[in-house]
């Protein structure tokens, strides 16, 4: 019994936040957001793991023959992966428009919305 995966997930999340806050390039920032999201995958799947378990997929094994890991978190993570990919695409589309309209993708140089 150990708890290593949980702090690793927390660490990934905070690292991503750090990158997001200090980013000098919006594409890089979107990448950091993807890193933040991978923390949620790790946490969810770690929560659902069971020692010695295997995937509850019965195409190549008999039901009840082995301990099973939690299928629900896997379905949740699956949804989460899709969400992550689509959000990345949408944000990248916005970054492209920013590059066109502002001529830069450095957040330090975007000075339109203040005060």
């Amino acid at each position: 019994m150990h708890v290593l995966p949980y702090p690793v997930a927390a660490y990934i999340f905070l690292t991503g936040c750090y990158g997001l806050a200090t980013s000098r390039n919006l594409i890089h920032a979107v990448g950091c957001l993807a890193v933040c999201q991978s923390a949620t995958y790790v946490l969810l799947l770690a929560v659902g793991y069971r020692d010695g378990g295997t995937a509850p997929v019965f195409s190549d094994m008999k039901p009840g023959s082995r301990p099973l890991v939690d299928p629900v978190v896997q379905a949740l993570t699956l949804t989460d992966v899709v969400v992550g990919a689509t959000v990345t695409a949408l944000l990248l589309a916005l970054v492209l428009q920013i590059a066109k309209r502002h001529g830069t993708v450095d957040p330090d140089e975007l000075r339109e919305l203040r005060g």
Partner: protein
Amino acid sequence: MSDALIVVVLLLVAGSATAAVAQRDPARQALVLSFLGVLLAALFTVLQAPDVGLSQLAVGSALTPLLIMLSVRKIRRRGRSEEEDG
């Protein structure tokens, strides 16, 4: 034995996540992100989630890098055509 495997992959994932954040150039970050994607797929396999691993592979190994690299290319091309304009 399984635990050792999980620990190894977890540490690699943490390391590559750090690297992905530390690479400030988006093209280089995209390389690390695609590596992270494949590693995450391996981690999901180790955590007995092949379904999630498959979708992570599908998204992380080719789709996301393609999206990021196309954006990078667009922005670089913009920069170039502006330089040519003077």
